[in-house]
């Protein structure tokens, strides 16, 4: 997902810093973005691990220096595991809850401070439709994403007037490496399509972006379902 977004950014002329765990992989992505980017685009790669909160500030600083400024921070990283796996493996459950909620929030806090220093900026974070309504196949993952969505909404309320736009992206099912091997539900999107919607959301400052857009209608319907229906529902 991050790859699709970064490509769209450099193609339209935005300089980009890519953050990730594996520096060798990042450097390959950096070369890819450099080759695809419009002339003059700057691309830097910075090591950052969402499992290691103590590195967040330094990573953001390095990105800011590399780009000589920072106006938008996009967080696409996250962990996913099926409910079945998470129930069997408490250590994995703890890791997913920590990375997808606590650590992501801590990262956003660092990014918020940096962006507010400039007095203007956008923080765009990938949450999930799984956080919109508690459902059987995503009890734990959905809980972490619900927390994240709530945090992002709060941030947007509190800081929009001061110049920080917070965007909560709620992707439905997207065909990426994260969802490989899962049965593909209806309305599944592909990364390029989702990236296009997200970029439009960033440009417009839309606080909540569903992608593919049809998921807004789907989730409205699911949110409206009474509890006794959800208890029987399999999805």
């Amino acid at each position: 997902m991050g790859r699709s977004l970064a490509r769209k950014f450099v193609e339209r002329g935005d300089s980009v810093a890519v953050l990730g765990r594996d520096l060798e992989e990042l450097q390959k992505s950096q070369a890819d973005l450099q080759a695809r980017g419009s002339p003059g685009v700057r691309v830097v790669s910075v090591k950052c691990d969402l499992e290691a909160p103590e590195t967040f500030r330094a990573s953001l600083e390095q990105a800011e220096q590399g780009l000589e400024g920072l106006d938008t921070v996009v967080v696409t990283a996250g962990l996913f595991a099926t409910q079945e796996k998470l129930e069997q493996d408490p250590a994995l459950a703890h890791k997913v809850l920590t990375v997808d909620f606590a650590n992501t929030v801590v990262f956003c806090e660092e990014a918020r401070k940096k962006l507010l220093l400039h007095g203007k900026g956008t923080l765009c974070v990938f949450s999930s439709v799984a956080g919109d309504r508690a459902r059987k196949p995503v009890v734990l993952y959905g809980a972490a994403k619900a927390g994240l969505s709530a945090y992002l909404e709060g941030l947007d309320h509190k800081y929009r007037a001061q110049g920080l736009t917070t965007i909560c992206v709620k992707p439905g099912f997207v065909k990426t490496a994260m969802t490989a091997g899962l049965p593909v539900p209806p309305f599944a999107g592909d990364p390029d399509e989702v990236a296009q919607i997200v970029i439009e959301g960033i440009d417009a400052g839309t606080p909540v972006v569903y992608a593919p857009r049809i998921w807004q209608a789907v989730m409205t319907a699911i949110k409206a379902m009474p509890r006794f229906v959800m208890r029987r529902a399999k999805f």
Partner: protein
């Protein structure tokens, strides 16, 4: 976690298999690689005894591009559509393109694809400088025309059977403008078509044509021939051509749409639509190179049972009238086809299993029916008699004995393959069918 799903080539003949789509290829399991699945037959399908395939399309990063020389190196899942979107606006184009942009670099190498310019520029493989591969013993190595040459020549056109193609390096070409100057000419029969095709070869870098392969007698082989070259700056508008909107073929067609009268009417209408004797002018490269890409999933037009494409090359040594003799065999059997394309082929590549050789290539789509096997057998026996051969990237029905008789270079290929992959770790449904893996 992964489950078995139906997997098919472009001809929609499905097999059950497990498809992995990793973002990086170095750590992928030692099984057959496939790209966008545009080969028509079973070359990209897993063998029953080894049901997993790795789809490379998520490994689609550019590794390096040198704007001074045009040399591009990318991961093997990088697609031609992506390349055109990125590099055509900058004035660079692939030296060889097949008739669809929905192919990956790895697939272009594995099938050693050719295009309308084969008589001038040869196949894609002859423009490749380096391949990064992982071979059966797990080693990752580089090969090229001057490095591990045997492995390179067996891999180009080798249908992924010699190892996994991880990265491809080749030279893009500078184009004067992103527009094509095209001359399209109506021809009234097959002999005129072949004469005009050969006559155009020295003057036009790109030639291709369509013929109505249902018309019989004096009309046999009526159609039109298109000749093209990149337009010069003074001939073309300064703007970049806009891609036409794509649309998706909405349903799997019922069989009646494929009946002989329906196809006859379609072919007649297409022929009649070209009512001037000669049309000249600018066209955009998307329409010129990839007319069928405008309709996503057009393969569903051939109905539930799918289709196959029969493509053969008839060598110069077959002499005058080879195309007419081929069409006679076809029309006698009543094979209905919307598409029959005849192209000019230049000299053979040194790559062991590269398809084209000096002569003409004929390609036709055939909806799968109960008699498809017999039709392909009859065409193969005819082609064998003419000294020709078929294209593996299109094939689903050829018998192993026919292929062995046509492909005199097969033992040399197998010898190199055995050296690099003695246990045939990399195999496909096609290699099991044709080579007995």
């Amino acid at each position: 976690m992964t489950q078995r799903n139906p997997i098919s080539g472009w001809g929609r003949q499905f097999v059950e298999g497990e498809e992995l789509q990793p973002e990086t290829l170095e750590g992928a399991p030692a099984v057959l690689f496939r790209g966008l699945g545009r080969s028509y037959g079973d070359s990209s399908l897993p063998a029953a005894s080894s049901p997993t395939v790795v789809t490379t399309t998520r490994a689609n990063r550019i590794i390096a591009f040198d704007p001074a020389t045009g040399v591009l190196r990318a991961e093997s899942g990088f697609s031609l559509a992506d390349m055109n979107r990125t590099f055509l606006p900058r004035g660079w184009f692939t030296p060889v393109t097949p008739g669809t942009a929905y192919v990956t670099l790895g697939g272009m190498v594995a099938a050693d694809v050719h295009g309308k310019n084969h008589h001038v520029d040869g196949c894609f493989g002859s423009h490749v400088r380096r391949l990064k591969m992982r071979v059966a013993d797990g080693r990752i190595l580089e090969c090229g025309p001057d490095l591990e040459r045997e492995l390179f020549l067996a891999t180009v056109g080798g249908m992924g059977l010699t190892g996994q193609i991880l990265e491809v390096e080749f030279g893009l070409r500078r184009i004067p403008t992103p527009w094509i100057w095209q001359e399209s000419e109506k021809v009234s029969d097959i002999d005129e078509y072949i004469a005009k095709l050969k006559e155009a070869a020295p003057r036009w870098p790109m030639t291709v044509g369509w013929i109505d392969c249902l018309a019989k007698g004096a009309n046999m082989g009526r159609g039109f021939l298109m000749k093209g070259r990149w337009a010069q700056a003074h001939e073309a508008p300064a703007r970049f051509p806009r891609e036409l909107p794509h649309f998706t073929f909405p349903f799997t067609a019922p069989e009646v749409m494929l009946s002989q009268p329906a196809v006859k009417a379609f072919n007649f209408a297409l022929y009649a639509s070209h009512f001037q004797k000669k049309k000249v002018g600018l066209v955009d490269p998307f329409r010129f190179f990839y007319p069928l890409d405008l309709i996503h999933d057009w393969n569903r037009m051939y109905g539930k049972r799918g289709f196959t494409q029969y493509q053969c090359v008839l060598p110069d040594s077959a002499g005058q009238g080879a195309a007419r003799r081929f069409l006679e065999v076809l029309t006698k059997r009543g094979g209905a086809s919307f598409l029959c394309v005849i192209k000019d082929c230049g000299p053979e590549s040194p790559a062991y299993l590269s398809f084209p050789r000096s002569g003409i290539s004929i390609a036709l789509d055939i909806a799968v029916r109960n008699d498809t096997q017999e039709l392909v057998d009859a065409l193969n026996e005819h082609v064998l008699g003419e000294g020709g051969r078929i294209y593996l990237a299109k094939d689903h029905f050829t018998r192993p004995e026919h292929f062995r008789a046509m492909e005199t270079r097969l033992p040399a290929f197998q010898a190199v393959r055995d050296r690099w992959d003695p246990h045939h770790t990399f195999k496909s449904a096609q290699s099991v069918r044709l080579f007995g893996d």
